[in-house]
Symmetry: C2
Subunit: 131 residues, 2 copies
């Protein structure tokens, strides 16, 4: 990511966790159920100490659920492809009042436990810059 040193303007520093999970266990059919996945996401968000301000989920036919949880700290986004045993997760938190990175990692890891992926891509991106 380029750093716009030519633009010393205010911003907001944040942490974005990006995960791709391969070989997920969808044998438990509830993970392909919209209400269940939504409940899991909302519970895990609150359990991590992050604040929900809205959410929207959608179920594809014949399978796959996609959803986002809006946070006071930014957002969570999850997309599942049961036919490929594949899931992606984004957790993005701004760090204005405090560093929320530990909470984001807790949320990421708690959701990952539900999917039991056999393989993972994980990256952590700093959004913005410290003022």
């Amino acid at each position: 990511m380029s750093t716009p040193t030519a633009f010393p303007l205010p911003g907001s520093q944040g942490t974005h966790l990006l995960g791709e999970w391969y070989g997920c266990d969808f044998s438990t059919p509830t993970l392909n159920d919209l209400d269940t996945l939504r409940t899991i996401c909302l519970f895990a968000t609150g359990d991590a100490g992050l604040e929900v301000v809205g959410d929207v989920f959608h179920k594809f036919k014949p399978q796959g659920v996609t959803g986002t949880v809006l946070l006071a700290e930014s957002h969570l986004a999850i997309h599942t492809w049961p036919e490929k045993k594949f899931t992606t997760l984004d957790v993005y938190v701004c760090n204005i009042r405090e560093d929320n990175t530990a909470k984001a990692l807790k949320l990421y890891n708690s959701l990952k436990e539900y999917f039991h992926p056999q393989g993972e891509n994980f990256s952590r991106v700093q959004r913005g810059r410290k003022e």
Copy 2:
């Protein structure tokens, strides 16, 4: 991003555009209006040829709007901090049936035009891998 070569499992390749916009023009107050920003996002999404399957937006007090648009192709997420003249945008599209990267770039750039940022961080991340 690490490549999990030890896990030759199916996945789904996608393109994720991450932007941070500094020095945004919030002098037009409508950009800090939930309904207006939502309308702009939904219009730009359709205009780019992407399919909306849901959305949720939230307005903070005293200012700032945050929102996500769920796409058949994945998601858009936008967060604004008018007090810092700062905005972040995520556009993530999967490329299963076709390569949606050009549509994602069109959506990113059309939304950017509304904010007239004086500075920008931009990165493009490949999610998953080609099968």
